[in-house]
Symmetry: C2
Subunit: 627 residues, 2 copies
Amino acid sequence: MGNTIIYGEIFLKGGYAGKILFINLTDKTIHEEHVNSSIAEKYIGGKGYALYVLYKKYLKEYMNKGLSPRDIDPLGSENVLAFATGPITGIPGVPSPGRYHVMALKSPLTGSVASANSGGEFGPFLKFAGYDLVFIEGEAEKPVYIEIVNGHVDIRDASDLWGLNTFTTTSILKKRVNHKNTSVACIGPAGENKVLFAAIINDEHRAAGRTGVGAIMGSKKLKAIVVAGDNQPQIANTEEYRKLVAEMSERIRKNPVTGGGLPQYGTAVLVNIINQIGGLPYKNWQYGYNPEADKISGETLASKYLIKRRPCWGCQIACGRVTRVQFGPYQVLYSEGPEYESIWALGNDTGVMDLEAIIKANHLCDELGLDTISMGATIATAMELYEKGLIPSEDLEGMDLRFSNPAALVDAVWRTAYRAGFGARLALGSKRLAEMYGAPELSMSVKGLEMPAYDPRAIKGIGLNYATANRGGCHVSGYTVASEVLGLPEKTDPLSPQGKAKLVKIFQDLTSVVNSAVNCLFTTFEIGARDYARLFNAIAGFSFTEQEIMTIGERIYNLERYIMSLYGFSAKDDTLPPRLLREPMPEGPAKGQVVELDMMLKEYYELRGWINGVPTIEKLRELGIEL
Amino acid sequence: MGNTIIYGEIFLKGGYAGKILFINLTDKTIHEEHVNSSIAEKYIGGKGYALYVLYKKYLKEYMNKGLSPRDIDPLGSENVLAFATGPITGIPGVPSPGRYHVMALKSPLTGSVASANSGGEFGPFLKFAGYDLVFIEGEAEKPVYIEIVNGHVDIRDASDLWGLNTFTTTSILKKRVNHKNTSVACIGPAGENKVLFAAIINDEHRAAGRTGVGAIMGSKKLKAIVVAGDNQPQIANTEEYRKLVAEMSERIRKNPVTGGGLPQYGTAVLVNIINQIGGLPYKNWQYGYNPEADKISGETLASKYLIKRRPCWGCQIACGRVTRVQFGPYQVLYSEGPEYESIWALGNDTGVMDLEAIIKANHLCDELGLDTISMGATIATAMELYEKGLIPSEDLEGMDLRFSNPAALVDAVWRTAYRAGFGARLALGSKRLAEMYGAPELSMSVKGLEMPAYDPRAIKGIGLNYATANRGGCHVSGYTVASEVLGLPEKTDPLSPQGKAKLVKIFQDLTSVVNSAVNCLFTTFEIGARDYARLFNAIAGFSFTEQEIMTIGERIYNLERYIMSLYGFSAKDDTLPPRLLREPMPEGPAKGQVVELDMMLKEYYELRGWINGVPTIEKLRELGIEL
């Protein structure tokens, strides 16, 4: 059985490619190891497995040299970057198996563990190329790219690719490899220029967007990874697998979100939904309700700009949008997206109600390799700083960075990628920008990561999640919006802080499992821990219970939190911008609300078994985390 | 007498700073020499003196090593770049003394001698800093800039400036030097990225634009030269000088062009004038008359976008425009220009009749360091290639590069500077682009340099000048438009080829003098060779006659042409795009016209004493050119 993994204490009978790749860019060495089945049993794959290796192999080695984790330079050669798939990635028929996860020891934007996730085809094709995980160490002297084709690995010269945008880079490498299952993950100019929120872009329009993983690639002079292959993973229990695939496909199809809203309107279906409960942050979170929001809604996108849908590999939901702006100043004849959070960040948060300008700005983010959320939110912060008179106009070199100005929005995006003019300051992200101009409270970020499109004054649980998400102000670490707004798996009151600590913990832990699977978080609108256990068992031959699945998630979450504590993070960092804690929502359905964070946080820490925001040794032991 | 130059065979009593600077960026050596008065008597200064040194010191040395001038890589360390002022530069009161000239052994765009000219304050302040000419040799390993302040010269680290636009670079260096007479000449991203028509930008909005001198700076990793100083040159004959200054100022004021059209509407006053005679090339020179031209005229610019005028140093004409686009997608709150040729290239030639988009595109050219003429003309060529189906749309990555599309225009500009997407191809200029797509005849260039805003089917003399200008398709090498259209110094019939050979020769030779003076070509709308002789005599103590002035011009023009012949240029290169020779103007006042080039060229070569487009040894001897 070619894909049975025999190393370790148990046998894995499917799901995995079975090999992990280690590439050192400093000395150009490449070696591989088998997937360790006992690690897989504790951390599955994807994010969890990568995190374990980052800690065990790299961070401990670093500390063993007598160095402090606090001194790790995220843009230095000591940072390690991982591309990770899991046992569900690339398995045909299972729900939305087209994703991969990116991890790194430290984020240049947040100083916490770097973590990002993307769809498209890269994840499956990496696995088909023969590897579950790839770790990138060191730093190349000159630009390189990595080619992984059916188990053959090369580090190649990328001098001719350096400076190119993500589209051209992808197109050139796809032609060069010329295999039907080829995918490219690369950086654009933003990553090369180490914009602190630069993204990794795969398949032209899919982004591992958050925490500046593109800047880490740039610092390593790694322009791209191109993967291609034909190695389909085996299935441990084909009968059970077939049954599950049929069942889950049917459930996903019947679910109102995964079978209705998402396929029809994409993620942007949320614009009107979130606005209607007064939780759509407007003009750098000064407001939570925008009477004009429908101008930039998923419905408007679908009616005016949608050409067709483009799914990730193997996905039946197909929320991906192919769009076009046919005429006008923000014309772009082929684009994809924008997603809900991108529309929000580039549009509602900046007050720009011109969907064409938003599509263009989103397109530029993909082309140049920028995280749309941090980009839009940083521009929004700059706009508030400027309107409050804190940015002198001479710093703007002729740019009119007022709220609601589409011209400034589009200009600001490409300027950021290239660090041109004021773009050099936007490239630092909202936290550093707001500090630079003397108003740190105007950065709507947690741990330096810009929060996305849900105002926790209207959706309390997501506020606790923002405050406690390991990577910072992130919605997908614990997407309680599913419950609080969409009523999945069950409805909770968005305006009540009651019970939200438990909800957040469950979502955060389950999400850690999904990101280790690796498949799409949208599956959790329908399938839960029990389903995940069944999937893992059928595909890889595990024998997980529902409870074990949740424990694995908790283990991953706690290990990540423990690593953060080594960097100096603690409860002091688990907070929200003062605006959300002290400025009552001025109008709309959530008028008068603030976030009751202290109360929720206390309960959360108790549930977590954390003291001062850090797992206790007992908790780590209980979870079986070896330090 | 501090500024009396005693080296050489004669004495120069004023005008010059007296010193020439030689900076080698490879080994970081700096040395200076006195201005040689016998060279000055033969080549004056500026372009002429620089050309002489480039030939005598560098090109001959190169050949003495047994190397062929044809093998000089314009972007290699063997190229030499010169910044040159002359005895009139920076002399208060004389007409328009605010310019400097840039020369280099070879242009990356044309392969001919590189030559460009710019206004602003850089020329005068370079002289006030203590130098008439600066030669830059070699190539720095890491980015550097050169600081020249009152005779002190430093090569400084520019790592922190590399990547910045021209505005920010200028602002930073001005603050760093902090002297009232400070000026910065620098490159933007286009020069760093070696866009073949990258410009050198000084004083934020002034460009030594043509022949890719910015790319040469980029290849040497020279980000900027900052100059500052207080050394005012002496005047040889102050009484005569005062008389001349008063007389010439009065004449310039009374002249209808220098005292009327230029101050009032800037150079863009020409849009309507040239269009009315059917000589305004439209949509890549498919037409010569545009019924909508007034939309982008100097009059429209003045009425809608002009804030104020900004003259070059010491200039009474003040044709420079400060402009603003207050609202809309092409908003820019502070800009300068655009000049007539820029409006034409970015607007009329591309069919874009949106003056706001043109102002924005022009602004981006200044910010990023691009030659507006080659930029616009290259976009126009691409548009015709695309409309004719020769560029597949996949190469454009969503850009809709049709004629008259303002969105594509503005996008194309920044993409070119950064070589993003299709910009990487535009960065090669129209000649290489058109060749790449199999239609070289669609590049409207001569010797690879894009021709500007005057269709020679309507203005015959300028056609001969385009064909024979040493640097390629250039209008300011022999601006016969002054005579053929504006009637200065006397009117000739633009549609007749008769007598144009002589006219072109006179304009080319006199222009060589002006560029060696160095002052502004616009002075020649009023003052001629005799006046120049008087100026040189009064200021520097020469005793030139009018005829000697014209001989100096001819000497410079022939030396440049001789150098070109060493690179392989000959009569075969003295031609025009076939469209101008064979496609009769389809409509407008010049309908039915082609350029009778052969006839004019034959006469021109006879007047020049050239065989096969190359000066004979006898001609060179007659002009006193030592080989």
